[in-house]
């Protein structure tokens, strides 16, 4: 671990008592956060702990919050991102905010061009851009378009943009998820250079190996609350995990003891290639098996490949998926989701608005969409049959809507998710793949969904569940696998399933890798 700063330096940023709610949901509660210059400060916590929200408040993306923020010793009122940027705070989000079709030089001066007599001074911008990038160890043609460079280089360009606007605090949100090993080294070297220049760096990551390499200081959030902040040397892995997980004894649903049927779904060496050129695998040689009536939980943090695994199994990646898959001992390969559905596989994606529902269509239309071939044999639909099916589903799922003809976009999050579930239950699947099924849903609807899942499993469905909510994962799963960096790194069953061990594995901690036979 790197040496922490010994001399007390006045913090570049001091946030005190930060609180924020979205409607009735309190996302941050009385959080303190200090950023010292010349230091790498890791912001850690499980998904949903509030890290992104805290950073967005600092960046000026939210003006509606409680608490105080001091930048360079002076209190600042809630302000816009542009104002915060002018005060020296730069945030580099996972989705880079460069304009891909514009040149590198233009991007560096986006919104802040160098001018000469009212016109943009291209030559001066190019010179300055080249110099900035050289400082960061990058030697490229700044006239080329950003999209012509690999993601790793684009990231450095974004950092250069921050530097050229005199950022004193740079926040990086999971910067290495798209980088290869040598590119990660390049980034770390750059961070070391920035430290020497006195920049304060906030680094959000789930990866234990990175925390070990570059952390000077670590702050942990849990469920929107500030758990603690300490120099990295005082926070060994075990303690860090403990801070992140806590000792919650919130029982979600009593775990059922069930009898399982024979193996139904099996993967052997299942991989998904990345689109376009490149040997990168977003899912790397995964093998697992699920029995009828069993719920297999997958623990995997952002970028672990869990979502891509399920999409690959579902046929959403078409030819990019490789390896072997067996349904009920028969080898299968799905080139489209339609094929998967015909074989009794259903998938609930992790973003109901973007990929789960057609918000402009009615509840009935959404519920019957995946089962259209069976509901409209010969091509012509029967509105009566559809209405009957939708009513049945709405009753079974306890959907609260004044009319089934309402547009899906007008429902609450919990009810929207129920429509998604209804759509897939209608297809009478034998395998159900769920990706964060209770994200963004109130506790009442969550309980109903848990109950339904257990009912379906009891009826013989093989269920695979991705969730980052640890209590949910522990309560619902019969077995758990952990994924990290596109691979399965550990398997747990029975009493070994503890939040601590699982999170350790999901974060890629050395020694946490373990497979049970």
């Amino acid at each position: 671990m790197t040496q922490p700063q010994a001399a007390p330096v006045s913090p570049a940023v001091r946030m005190r008592g930060i609180a924020k709610s979205f409607g009735r949901v309190q996302v941050l509660r009385d959080v303190d956060f200090e950023i010292a210059p010349g230091e790498v400060h890791i912001l850690a916590g499980e998904n949903g702990a509030g890290k992104s929200t805290l950073i967005k408040i600092l960046a000026g993306a939210y003006q509606d919050y409680e608490g105080s923020i001091e930048i360079q010793g002076r209190e600042v009122p809630p302000s816009s991102p542009r104002e915060r940027a002018s005060l020296g705070v730069a945030v580099i989000y996972q989705e880079l905010s460069l304009a891909p079709n514009m040149s590198v030089a233009d991007n560096l001066f986006l919104g802040n061009p160098m001018e000469r007599r009212g016109f943009v001074d291209d030559a001066a911008q190019r010179r300055r851009a080249t110099a900035c990038l050289a400082q960061l160890g990058l030697d490229i043609d700044v006239r080329k378009r950003v999209e012509d460079f690999p993601v790793a280089t684009q990231q450095i360009i974004e950092i250069a943009r921050a530097i050229s606007q005199d950022a004193r605090v740079i926040v990086m949100d999971e910067p290495t998820s798209a980088l290869s090993i040598p590119e990660v080294e390049q980034l770390f070297a750059l961070i070391a250079r920035l430290k020497i220049q006195g920049c304060g760096i906030v680094y959000i990551t789930h990866k234990m190996e990175e925390i070990g390499r570059i952390a000077d200081r670590i702050t942990v959030l849990r469920d929107g609350e500030f758990v603690g902040s300490a120099p990295a040397s005082e926070l060994p892995t075990a303690k860090l995990i403990e801070w992140m997980v806590g000792r919650k004894t919130e029982t979600v649903v009593a775990r059922r003891s069930a009898s399982f049927g024979p193996e139904y779904l099996r993967l052997e060496g299942f991989s998904v290639r990345q689109r376009g050129a490149g040997a990168n695998r977003i899912v790397d040689s995964v093998s697992l098996s699920v029995r009828a009536g069993e719920i297999l939980g997958i623990a995997g943090l952002r970028g672990s490949g869990a979502t891509e695994l399920l999409l690959g199994v579902f046929g959403a990646y078409g030819e990019l998926a490789q390896g072997r898959m067996f349904l009920d001992k028969e080898p299968v390969r799905f080139k489209t989701p339609g094929e998967a559905i015909r074989h009794g596989v259903a998938m609930i994606t992790n973003d109901r608005k973007a990929t789960g529902l057609v918000l402009s269509s009615s509840i009935i239309a959404n519920m019957t969409l995946a089962d259209l071939p069976r509901l409209s044999k010969g091509g012509w639909r029967s509105p009566a049959k559809e209405k009957a099916a939708a009513s049945r589903l709405a009753a079974a799922l306890r959907l609260r809507a004044s009319s089934l003809g309402l547009e899906a976009g007008q429902l609450s999050g919990g009810n929207q998710q129920k429509v998604v579930l209804a759509k897939w239950i209608q297809t009478e699947p034998r395998v159900l793949l769920l990706d964060e099924p209770t994200r963004g849903i109130d506790i009442g609807a969550k309980q109903e969904i848990y109950r339904l899942m257990q009912e379906w499993a009891a009826n013989g469905m093989a269920i695979v569940l991705i969730t980052t909510e640890m209590p949910e994962l522990l309560a619902l799963s019969d077995r758990i696998v952990a994924m990290h960096r596109s691979r399965v790194v550990a398997e747990f069953s029975g009493p070994e399933m503890s939040a601590h061990a699982i999170l350790e594995a999901a974060m890629g901690t050395e020694g946490a890798q373990r497979r049970t036979a």
């Binding site: 579902f314 959403a316 489209t336 989701p337 339609g338 998967a340 559905i341 015909r342 998938m347 994606t349 973007a354 990929t355 789960g356 529902l357 057609v358 918000l359 402009s360 269509s361 239309a365 019957t368 969409l369 995946a370 259209l372 071939p373 409209s376 091509g379 012509w380 639909r381 509105p383 759509k423």
Partner: protein, 328 residues
Amino acid sequence: MTEIRQRILADPATRVLMALLAVLLLGVIFSADGAFYRLATHRDALRQASVYGILGCGMTLVIVTGGIDLAVGSVLALVSVVFSLMSIWWGWPAIVAVPISLAVGAACGAVSGSLTAYFRIQPFIATLAMMVFARGMAKAVTGGAKISPAVPQPDGSYQYVDVPAIFRAIDSRTLFDNLSIVTVIFLLCGALSWALLSRHRWGRQAYAIGGNEEAARLSGVPVVRAKMLAYVICGFLTAVAGICQAAQEQQGDPEAGAGYELTAIAIAVIGGTSLMGGRGGIGLTLIGTLTIGYLDKILSINAVPEAGRLMLTGVIVVAAVLGQSRGR
């Protein structure tokens, strides 16, 4: 009470009916010495609007899937030219000429569809290219001339042939001389389109693709196939319109249909179909057809020059689209 009023106003059906009422009111006010009240005026308005209406049906189907077909005007010309060539100059019977003409339209649609759905070229660009290409083909087929009952002879003179029976049949009237056959054809096309969109599996797929293509794909909808079908059906309907146009004009004019695509889009949009896809319907398109048709008629019986009519149509389309977005 205000909530109910707001909801009624937000309903696309209400808005397009209000637009139609507004236009009819305009007709009452500017009735051109009572010309507006004559039955012949209404019959003619319907007759002229019918060709636009058929195009509007096809356009609606494509727009619902989130696409657009800018080629309908040119394909209309191509089909009307081909149909006239076969029927008037070559004397082929309708039983042969009609299916071939319909196939030409469908084939053009298939090309647009594969460019858009399979090769993933933006519909605007793909159908713009088809628009130019089809216009070129129409001119190539005729060598630039119009295909009329005056058949050019090798020696430079013209021989006059009879207008084929099918032409006269399509251009005739029924129901005690009050309803044009073309209008009947339009209504049939409307019924077919309505059935496809509202009662067929394909219709649901189309709305899903237009509303959220990725969600549709992940729900097992065969996106490429469904999009293709939209363009093929649109091409087919455009061919129907082309045949009707030829019959009404009693000639095949390679310059015909210029600008018709915009009228077709206007009809769909006034009818409440959203250009972003996923919303709209044929019933509303029919009302949109009436609105545009009557507007055109009212302006013409008041002797408003074509320039004024074009400008007013433009204004109304913008107003309709703005009304659409405010209501949501």
